[in-house]
């Protein structure tokens, strides 16, 4: 059912760094925002406060270019768990962009909830 959305853990093991070298400043956001699958990412945005969203956005928007420069320097298929967590942080930045830049609230007041318009494995 959810093949595309599973199989990658966002939790780090003991000797596995949270994020690639140089991105330690983003460690504080990993547990909340490094979310592998789209439905969970949507739910996180819908359930977050604007303070929480802004704190993440304000930091991440300044690091996204550097993050993609780093990730592009590697073969996508060979990205390691710390790399993937960094990638998921860039997706989370996208997810909250309109909250900060357009709506000034977590979601559009006119939108269906994330339980109503759902990413599915395939059609």
């Amino acid at each position: 059912m959810t093949l595309k959305f599973s199989g990658v853990h966002t939790m780090a093991s003991n000797n596995d760094p949270l994020l690639p070298t140089g991105f330690d400043g983003l460690n504080q956001f990993v547990s909340d925002w490094a979310i592998a699958d789209e439905p969970a990412r949507m739910r996180k945005r819908w359930s977050s406060s604007m303070d929480e969203i802004r704190r993440f956005y304000d930091t991440m928007v300044g690091r996204v270019e550097e993050a993609l420069d780093y990730l592009d320097s590697r073969k996508f298929e060979e990205l390691q768990p710390p790399d993937l967590r960094l990638l998921y942080l860039t997706y989370a930045l996208v997810e909250v962009a309109n909250a900060v830049e357009v709506y000034h609230r977590p979601t559009s007041p006119y939108a269906l909830g994330p339980d109503r318009y759902c990413p599915v494995e395939r059609l």
Binding site: E65, A97, V102, Y103, S108, Y110, Y117, V120
Partner: protein, 416 residues
Amino acid sequence: MSTVPVVEDDSYLGTKRWFKKYPELGDPGIPVEPFTSEDQFARERQRLWPRVWLMVGRAEHIPESGDYFTKAIPPANASLIVVRGRDRVIRAFHNVCSHRGSQLCWESGFRGHTAAFKCPYHGFTYDLEGHLRFVPDEANFYDLDKDRMGLRPVVTDIWEGFIFVHLSPNPTEALKEYLGAITEGLSGYPFHEQNYQYSYRAVLNCNWKLLISSFLEGFHVRTLHAAGLRRFCSTDNPYSHLDFVKLLGKHRLLSLFVNQAATPTKVADFAFSRYKKTLAQLSDSAPGGSQPDGTAALGRFLIRNIFPNFQLNLVMGGWYAYQFWPLTPDTVLWETRMCFSKPRNATEHFFQYYARYASRENLMEDGRVTEQQQLALKSGVIKRLVLQDEEIAVQHFNSVVQSYTADEARSQTAGK
């Protein structure tokens, strides 16, 4: 590289441009009754759905002999098996065993590979071309004519890799004739190369025609879609008048105005500029690896509404397909496919996430507003929807539905 439609550019600056051009549509405005009535739903079931071509999937999803998928067609109470035979021909069959009428494949939307279809109930077994090959305890049946006990075939044809079916055994129009001019500009378009598909599903509490109608005008963009405001409106086109609309028989082609001079929001600006830079770098290093780009090439956002329930949009780096399957008079299953080339690096993954996020933000608003509209229409307070000039495609689509379902239309040619 494919061609894109050559369009004559009617100025978006004008008003009252369209109803004058298409006087056969009559005065602007349509009745509410077809969106709420059980009778209309029954007429559609009887007179519309068996008489139209329906898109059910993509040919590249079943590339090998024995590859198949199942597809439910709710308004016909039908379930289909679409399979590539040993002769590599794609065929569709009703998902119904000829013995006791059970379903052969139980999961709708399933994609798989098989050597044969065996009924889970008593084990009747059919080959990939639908012939009945094995009957358990065959000697105990009376006068069983196996040659006449194959799976019930469904008429199938393919356009640019899109598999269509027709539920009538003898369609009055071939697919090519049925589609007509809506296919212009898409011959050879690399849909099959942009086959990295993301899928979304929603069941909404609204009539299927009401949801489709929400995609047939740009008039609501300014008000409903705060996130789309900058991109689809400008100082001289504040209400997002269409570049053009073409009413093409049963179908319609809209070009949504895109403000090329808009200042994008911060993350949008980053996503687009980063993607374009990467695209240029990757196509330099890999000749022929550039991605066709329906939107950027045109500076337009083209919406093809293919009757009755298939919408095809060309977008930057890919294409979207929406389908709308009525479940009841006031519920609809809405399926969305967003397709891109296989992303080659993190930036392309990032951009594709941005692209479907940006669309999803709008689609979730379109869905919600249409549910609220259905609630209001069901009250019966309003008997007629008032339409303005930019909403002409709404009138056209709904009038084509009526050409199939209205009593006086039964003997006439539908869709003119």
